[in-house]
């Protein structure tokens, strides 16, 4: 009886995933996986993916559901990053310039994306998914056609940008290395974590503002909000602009921490892990809080990163661990999506 109460309080998805997470961690210890490296990885990925997951909050709160069109924001962020490198910036300034470039682009695209969502009320999630796909494919042409010249990014022969290029000489790991330190062999990327938590705080403040409150009310009960004089379409628009901007900033942070920029079809599937993380964190298609983001990203990324070395130990042959990782990741996503209407 009491155990049932506890499960109810935590929520079944959260309970299952955290049990699995703990199980994998125990397995890791048993199999003598180096724990300091594993924990460093978990913490790093927590910071890396955090903002992309955070991008789900405004769109869910506004009533348009999880932002399945996250690739739109990601493409904007990548555009900002490539432009910053093209103009020859390095180090911290490259990172900041990339963010500054990407924000106006994301605001404009987010505006049009919001307009689209207001035109297709009721089927936002499906439309968003395919809008994201289309934009990624469109930009695949863009990455070839755009007149970038920086030797760090273009193919040595032929036209266009490379599919993957390193940030070693520009803004790779700038956040990770900011004030980083080691405890018992575990690396704490202070800058990265601070940046993520700062972004969380910013979004939290936004939800407490007048506009944020109106968006929240509009998302939870549009009829109520309308009777209180809220312009719901405008609220949905603002929320999706914010979500797109967070997607853009999120991918710059991700790339920086990863050390590489991935173009072309890389952003295609990036919305799904982010959606899954926020759902596992306890959000539903109608309700999301910052705490859901923090718990969700920790559980989801934590489970994925720790499952990898453990499966490697169990199946040391070839790349079977990569296959299992994909199975686990998509399994979690699938499970989370079944909980989209209420994570009980």
């Amino acid at each position: 009886m009491t155990s049932k109460l506890i499960v109810n309080k935590i929520g079944l998805p959260r309970f299952i995933i955290s049990t699995l997470f703990v199980f994998v961690l125990i397995l890791a210890v048993v199999l003598k996986v180096p724990m300091d490296m594993l924990l460093s990885d978990v913490i790093k990925r927590f910071g890396m993916y955090g903002i992309l997951v955070l991008a789900m909050v405004p769109s869910i709160q506004s009533g348009t559901g999880p932002n399945f069109a996250l690739p739109i924001g990601i493409v904007c962020g990548l555009l900002g990053a490539t432009m910053s490198i093209e103009f020859g910036h390095v180090g911290f300034s490259a990172f900041i310039i990339a963010v500054l470039f990407s924000i106006p682009i994301a605001v404009i695209t987010g505006y049009f994306y919001g307009k689209l969502l207001n035109a297709v009320k009721g089927s936002e999630m499906a439309i968003a998914t395919y809008t994201g796909f289309s934009v990624v494919q469109l930009m695949s042409i863009g990455w070839i056609m755009l007149p970038f010249k920086s030797g760090q990014m273009i193919w040595p022969i032929g036209k266009g940008l490379r599919t993957t290029f390193t940030l070693e000489k520009t803004f790779g790991h700038v956040l990770d290395n900011f004030l980083h330190f080691n405890i018992l062999g575990v690396t704490i990327p202070t800058g990265l974590l601070l940046f993520f938590l700062g972004a969380c705080y910013f979004v939290y403040l936004f939800t407490k503002s007048k506009t944020g409150t109106a968006i929240l009310a509009g998302g939870m009960n549009p009829n109520y909000a309308r009777a209180s004089g809220v312009n719901i379409d405008k609220g949905r628009m603002i929320a999706n602009i914010l979500s797109t901007v967070l997607g853009a900033v999120g991918i710059i942070v991700y790339s920086s921490s990863y050390g590489f920029v991935q173009l072309y079809t890389a952003p295609l599937m990036m919305a799904f892990p982010a959606v899954a993380a926020v759902l596992i964190g306890g959000a539903t298609a109608k309700r999301a809080k910052i705490s859901h983001v923090i718990i969700g990203v920790l559980l989801f990324q934590g489970l994925l990163t720790s499952a990898m070395p453990v499966t490697n130990k169990i199946f040391p042959v070839g790349n079977i661990s990569e296959i299992i990782r994909t199975v686990v990741q998509n399994g979690i996503i699938l499970y989370a999506l079944t909980k989209v209407e209420g994570g009980k």
Binding site: K208, S209, T213, A227, G229
Partner: protein
Amino acid sequence: MNNGYVLQMKDISKEYYGNKVLKGVNLNVKAGEIHCLVGENGAGKSTLMNILFGMDVIHSTGGYEGEILFNEKITEIKSPKKAMELGIGMVHQEFMLIPEFTITENIKLNREITKDNVISKILGDRLRTIDSKRMNDDARSALDRLDMNIDEWVRIVGLPVGHMQFVEIAREIDKTKVKLMVFDEPTAVLTESEADNLLKSMKKLASSGIAILFITHRLDEVISISDNVTILRDGELVKTLVTSESSVGEIAELMVGRKVDILNKEEKNKKQVKREVILELKDFSVHMPGEEVKNINLKIENGEIFGIGGLAGQGKVGIANGIMGLYPSNGELYLKGNKLKLNDTNNSLENGLAFVSEDRREVGLILDSSIELNIIFTALNIQNKFLKKYLFFTLQNSKKIKKHTDEMIKKLDIRCTSSKQNVGKLSGGNQQKVCIARALTQDPDILFVSEPTRGIDIGAKKLVLDLLVELNKELGMTIVMTSSELTELRKISDRIAIISEGKVAGILKPGDSDKKFGLMMSGTKIKELQEEVI
């Protein structure tokens, strides 16, 4: 022992969660008789019909007391299917037709006539072919019985409403054994000539030996068509009359009649001073589905409690919704002499109008959110109350919000565990108080309250009504209250407008006779009414 009764319902009682909605009702219908059932909304007509049809709502809430005799045999009707097998037909107020099907297909739906074919002989009866010729013939004869000269192969979509109603009836009479037909306010959606046709067909059906139970609000129809009339009020049987020995006036009086506590009202009337008009409606129309308001003119005076009454679906609910801009409206509105922009909720709220919606759960509240947010939101959004500047951000002032909410909880006696509790967890009465608290937080000049006592228990009802009177007396707030419950309106209002068919049937004093109220509600025109009174 053959007394000719097709249906006898004896001493029927029904409780919903301890709330008695039917108290010992008797109803007897003979073959070939047209029997009218009248009563206000909530008098128990639908519950009685639900029992007759064995609907799920009845059995899932503990069944009913009393007995039903069908064809002089005690019968227990456990499901709508059983009711159909017995030969009870129902014509619904909302049409249950499939638009893309033809008239024949609709009439014969799920009772198709079939014939054998090669496949069905091998694979079983489910694959038999539809015999369209015989089906069309049957449909034709049913339509002929109703004097309908429309072709049976026409599709439903695009047919006028009146025709759809006839298709519904044709479907019921095509069920061969029909012995009793229930018409649930069939004329509500019809034009006058369509309604006339319908009444004629009903007479024809009755003369062929089918018993008809006719539910209506239009008392003139009752007089013109029925043999007997049964009047319900507050779940009790008031009287069964022989129509030819009665009059519209008598029926109206019986339908409404209650002891109304008018004493305190008269005292109030004496004190009444000449008041100025605060809100004026000129040729005001609202397009609210099911509650259309058509070109009404009203003057609401400063400091009064203005009641808006009438039956469901007549448009009374549409007025406040239209003024608040929640449903498209046209015409003119003057607030304190200034023209008010229409269809702009923001503007209405900014000008000091506040609204407590009739739809508490859908419009009035965010159910899965805290009492705090529900109470302060409108004021925060419209008047920028409860905000505080922190450096670059203007954020919610949570201290002030908590303080105000706690005050409201205390003032209105909202029973809750804390101001952070979700309103969905509160009882109906307390939810209603939250709605009112939200409106009060705006400090409105005019407060529109729609159906404030719907779905809340008696104790809470009294509290809510007392609160409205208190606000009116102490703060001088003008209150416009829309309610289906005439007793309430008469208890607290200074004047009551009765809305019928989207128009103002008349404005009455709370102390006016039951007869006047009853007649106006059933749509009798003022002119006729005056004659009647004289």
